[in-house]
Symmetry: C2
Subunit: 341 residues, 2 copies
DNA sequence: TTGAAAGCGCTAACAT
DNA sequence: ATGTTAGCGCTTTCAA
């Protein structure tokens, strides 16, 4: 691999490596004739520059890191598509790192980035992350970071989010309109800002309808794809059994459906379910699932665009801005108003 | 970024850079006392080696490329998890490249790997790929490649697949047992080996039951996440309307369900559906979906393990082997036997 | 318009 | 046990 080097081209053409390098970069210092000779030979020998040699000189890797909790979540996989679409266009490479919701893994990953392996970071923090020292540590050493969805408020950089409070408020209002009076907010974190915002949006809707007393926040761990069936069953068989559930994370939904089914609870008759989800199959679930769908692709795209811009233009600085893209409520069967006969 | 270098450590400690380098690698040439001094200072100054400098010397990047058609397919995202689990353990980095089912993109991506950016490639080819020149080109230049799922038969390397023929045969036999007599095989390719094998497995089951005359293979493009509703509707309203569909690709399933619903076809009464799919939500679809589920995580894991082994041990060569992992048939509602009243 | 030389940070062979 | 030197491949002064 990587056999043909500038040196070889230089030797072959009787030129210096410097001249070759300049010619390949279309420098005005080099004559047109020479450029043509160089390009021709480069093509003939299938010359491909060694990116690491060039990185070493430039202190630029044309590589960015994507750090996120879980690729199997369709929000994140679509966001990756958005990121990739920009990367390909701007000639950037994408290193993928998964935290699996572990703060410790996240920290280790971030630490390595001090090495200069990447020019910037696109990140959605883990559900466990409460200490931001390693993030702000690396950010303060001038490593550009752009957050998307699960942002880190404390860091003064660009953040791409959705209207979590608002969409959750709207969705919860919808639940209430459909007849819910006891709403449970189901999440995988109690520290993430998105969770907080969504919870508060939901709570606001409950307050406005005088049902805040029965509002619950149930937090379940989601390491290693385990779902805490016991806690879920406990909730659904308790005195305070909700008649509406807001799932903050897509992955929980199949489990919730299953538990309901096992307990003989009918959706939407006995209990209505609504989920933040980008699942393609939402419309063909049994019953079809009402979702708050985030513009995942767009978020990834915007985040990557801003990050790469900040890397490429020295004049362009990452500013402490929060870009809010709208989510969409798709009402379906799982929250249908149930009229008793 | 990457401020503290070996040079700085050397200066600080009054040693040569060579001594530092050796100490950091725990060489036996260096005294224990010195090693300790070096390690201590490295830790204090938070020294992180520059990977590109080291890559340049070693001609090793400790990076591998994952090249696949689509991250939003749950098979691939789970395979990535498997790959990542090995990478993290072996201290490898993962560059992600998406072909979006485009042969041309695939070729461009592969070409760049001649640069030495990666030490090896994990790959699932696009549905369009029929010319393997660029793959064999780079493979013949000693770039290790391991294929998983969508393999390239022509290349003499390790391939991780599932028992496509067998599982498709079993699944189709199941369809027939449930009463199907007119089976359509729905795929996104007519060139992929997995497609061929699955098709032949299905055909064998049909032949054994004397229903091969009504067997159809419908191929639909799946670029840019578009689904060809027209062709699907055409099939389902034609004379030869199937009573059983085998979906070769997960992504098509929601669309197929939708078309059936729109045409008033009841699943599984009028038509039975079965899909190759790793979708978590298969069990809660309406109706729940019978699937052939591939061991995606395991496949990624095995592929990565073999690839990294071949990179790390010169004695270990990639041999032309095909590792077959078993898929599982999960029978659910969508293929239930329907007994007319 | 081209070349010589130095150096990015790290490492390996070869001194001492 | 430690240092010197050269070089991975590329780029960038600076000199010619």
């Amino acid at each position: 691999m990587a056999n043909v080097t500038i040196k070889i081209l230089a030797k072959e053409l009787g030129l210096s490596t410097a001249a070759i390098s300049k010619a390949l970069h279309d420098s005005h210092e080099i004559s047109v004739a020479t450029k043509q000779r160089v390009l021709a030979l480069a093509k003939e020998l299938n010359y491909i520059p060694n990116p690491y040699a060039s990185s070493l000189r430039h202190r630029k890797s044309n590589t960015l890191a994507v750090v996120l909790p879980d690729v199997t979540d369709s929000f994140f996989s679509e966001a990756i598509n958005g990121i990739e679409s920009v990367a390909i266009e701007k000639d950037f490479h994408v290193l993928l790192y998964l935290t699996h919701e572990r703060a410790q893994r996240e920290e280790a990953i971030l630490k390595e980035f001090q090495s200069g392996r990447v020019d910037g970071i696109l990140m959605s923090i883990s559900s466990e992350t409460t200490n931001f020292d390693s993030i702000s540590g690396i950010f303060s050493k001038n490593m550009p970071i752009v957050f998307f969805d699960r942002i880190c408020e404390q860091i003064n950089t660009a953040k791409i989010i959705t209207d979590d409070f608002e969409s959750s408020y709207i969705a919860t209002s919808h639940l209430i309109e459909q007849g819910c009076e006891k709403i449970t907010f189901l999440s995988n974190s109690d520290s993430l800002l998105i969770t907080k915002n969504r919870k508060e949006g939901a709570l606001k809707a409950c307050c406005e309808n005088g049902i805040e007393k029965t509002f619950l926040h149930l937090m379940l761990d989601c390491y290693a794809n385990k779902f805490d069936y016991e806690k879920m069953e406990e909730l659904l068989t308790s005195e305070q059994r909700p008649d509406g559930i807001i799932c903050c994370i897509e992955k929980f939904t199949p489990n919730v459906y299953t538990v309901c089914r096992e307990l003989g609870l009918s959706i939407p008759k006995d209990i209505k379910i609504l989920s933040f989800s980008n699942l393609n199959a939402a419309g063909i679930l049994n019953p079809s699932l009402t979702t708050i769908t985030q513009p995942a692709f767009e978020m990834g795209k915007v985040a990557a665009t801003i990050l790469i811009k900040s890397i490429q233009k020295k004049s362009f600085h990452l500013i402490d801005e929060t870009i809010i893209l709208p989510s969409t409520l798709h009402t379906r069967e799982s929250t249908r108003l149930w009229i008793n006969d």
